[in-house]
Amino acid sequence: MTAPVLVFGYGNPSRGDDAVGPEFVRRLELSQADAIARGELEVLTDFQLQVEHALDLKGRERVYFVDATVEGGAAGFAVTPVEPSKDATFTTHVLSPQALLHTYQAVVRAPPPQAFVIAIRGERFELGESMSTAATAHLEAALTAFAALR
């Protein structure tokens, strides 16, 4: 049974604030353990989005992509809807959420699920760095907002 809601956090846990995506997922695994156990929610993580992740979207009603960003407003995070679109990431080993939805459409030949990007602002991304205080605060705020969304 495929859970109707998927949260997909991605980033490199060893590159400072790039860890916010995987860390968001790790925290959800704890806080939403019951929902996960009931099959209402599934969480996945990876370093980056790649073509085969299109198949992880099959059978979902809603998908949240969680990633670090260097942009963003005072809240430190933003939740924005995302639509399928062809962009230059098709030419790299890494896909954007838009490109992944487009791949889904092409491969599965059906409209993709409703999708949102939760972009959490970070400020340092060097190898070996821990998450910054600011990004940690933004992560907490994003988790609180996500809990309210559900």
Binding site: V51, E52, A54, L55, T91, H93, V107, E126
Partner: protein, 488 residues
């Protein structure tokens, strides 16, 4: 004709740079130096960023290393996971793994090989090969492939998915796997897991065979192009297994010269430093490895599928061996150096990986419970595997407190540094010399580089993701034109 490594002209020249070659991972740049008539005087592939991953590892307990090194690269984490484990097997005195441990690791590795080759061919290279190097840029991507060849693109995705499942079931997780540890593995397969993979195997084999047929047909349709594009001659290097067979997980180092004569053979991984050195050049952060005995001028070589398939004496699985022989016959038994032949050999390897996965899945050792061995602890270990892109070397020293004091990594893309530079020089001579560079012509350079499937993320030891932009500069260095392909 000069080597085009360093300009020999006194004429005014202008510099063209392609920053971040697209469809490769990491952060690289191509620069061309052209005179007023558009003649090429210099062509270089640079690595423009370096972050010391080795320093990141130094000071950590050795048992963390197989997990930590996966963070070096989001593209080939399993290769680093296994190469580090092999090096640290030596440190913990595990000179002979249990059959279960070795086979689980092999399964993980061949799963990685299959999924990596599938991504490269079906999604990154097939747009160029199917539509042409200077076809409409908006079509020259995987969406274009999906539109024109929907089954092909779908099979690419499904092959990726299968490879990822193999990795998940052997490494314990889809990413940041912990399956391989110094001395063995921490899990074997259950019967249900084994059966799940076996059930998918017939389709995987069929798609792999169709992939080889397609790449063969592409070569046959335009033999002249495939045999001349980016052509340069070089030695080649890889591991080979028992009897000289194609081998990805373990073996000894062999190198052949450009005519196919074996130059060195049987080099144990622990002795790699006696045979391979690295030259530093002022214009690139990426080093240039070479065989010590031949020196930097003559001792450089290529690695990866084209090297492996020609360096081995045979492939032990029947379908891939038949394809290896077909490849040799198509070239009159001569050594093949054309970069586009990487694609053909990569698909032969993909088929071989699928066959080996089948062999392993039918072996009950995969479900055994003897997982770890240890022996006399030593202070140093070297692990070498054939990663999808070529030979990968991990070398560690560990002190009495179990902390890593030295880490040296020579990644596949670094081995291919000189080879990729030679390929772009060949393309520059053939296609760009005397012509005004267009996007299509620039893509010719990228096609040559992409044939090697470089992972510049590994080569730079960084997780770089940068935009591609082309800058045209005049002789004074001023930018006179630019174009951008955004990525991230």
């Amino acid at each position: 004709m000069t080597s085009l490594e360093t300009s020999q002209t006194d004429k005014p020249t202008r510099r063209i740079s392609i920053d971040q070659v697209s469809r490769v991972e990491g952060h690289g740049k191509v620069t061309l130096l052209l005179d007023d008539e558009g003649h090429v005087h210099q062509a270089r592939l640079h690595i423009v960023e370096f972050r010391g991953f080795e320093r990141f590892i130094q000071g950590r307990p050795y048992w963390e290393v197989p997990v930590m090194v996966q963070r070096l690269c989001g593209i080939c984490p399993v290769s680093h996971h296994l190469a580090a484990s092999k090096a640290l097997d030596v440190v913990v005195g595990a000179t002979q793994l249990t059959p279960t441990a070795e086979k689980v690791r092999r399964l993980m590795h061949y799963g990685q090989m299959l999924q990596s080759h599938a991504l490269h061919f079906f999604h990154l290279s097939s747009p160029d090969l199917l539509f042409g190097f200077d076809s409409e840029v908006s079509k020259r991507n995987v969406v274009g492939v999906v539109a024109a060849y929907p089954e092909l693109a779908t099979h690419g995705v499904l092959l990726r998915k299968f490879g990822q499942e193999v990795i998940r079931l052997t490494a314990g997780k889809r990413v940041h796997g912990t399956g391989s540890i110094p001395g063995g593995v921490n899990k074997s397969l259950t019967r249900a897991e084994r059966d799940e993979l076996l059930a998918a195997l017939p389709d995987v084999l069929q798609w792999a065979r169709e992939g080889v047929d397609l790449v063969k047909a592409l070569h046959q349709k335009n033999t002249a192009l495939y045999e001349s594009f980016g052509l340069f001659r070089s030695s080649l290097l890889s591991l080979v297994g028992p009897g000289g067979r194609l081998e990805f997980y373990d073996g000894v180092i062999r190198a052949r010269d450009a005519d196919g004569q074996v130059m060195v053979d049987g080099i144990e991984p622990k002795n790699y430093r006696q045979h391979i050195e690295e030259e530093v050049k002022s214009w690139s952060y990426m080093k240039f490895p070479y065989l010590t005995a031949l020196g930097p001028e003559r001792g450089w070589y290529k690695v990866g599928p084209l090297a492996r398939v020609q360096n081995c004496d045979f492939i032990h699985t029947p379908l891939a061996e038949a394809e290896r022989q077909a490849f040799r016959e198509a070239h009159g038994g001569q050594m093949v150096h054309a970069p586009l032949a990487y694609h053909w050999t990569r698909l032969i390897e993909l088929l071989h990986a699928a066959e080996v996965i089948g062999e392993l899945l039918r072996d009950d050792d995969l479900m055994g419970d003897a997982l770890v061995v240890s022996g006399e602890r030593v202070g140093e270990g070297v692990g070498i595997i054939e990663a999808p892109r070529g030979t990968l070397i991990h070398h560690y020293k560990v002190d009495s407190q179990d902390l890593v004091t030295m880490c040296n990594l020579i990644v596949s893309t670094t081995h291919n540094n000189q080879a990729m530079n030679e390929a772009i020089r060949s393309v520059a001579r053939e296609y760009l010399d005397g012509h005004e560079p267009t996007e299509g012509l620039m893509n010719h350079l990228e096609v040559a580089i992409r044939a090697f499937d470089p992972c510049l993320s590994c080569a730079t030891h960084a997780m770089g993701r940068m935009p591609l932009y082309v800058e045209v500069r005049d002789a004074s260095g001023a930018v006179v034109g630019s174009a951008t392909k955004s990525s991230r």
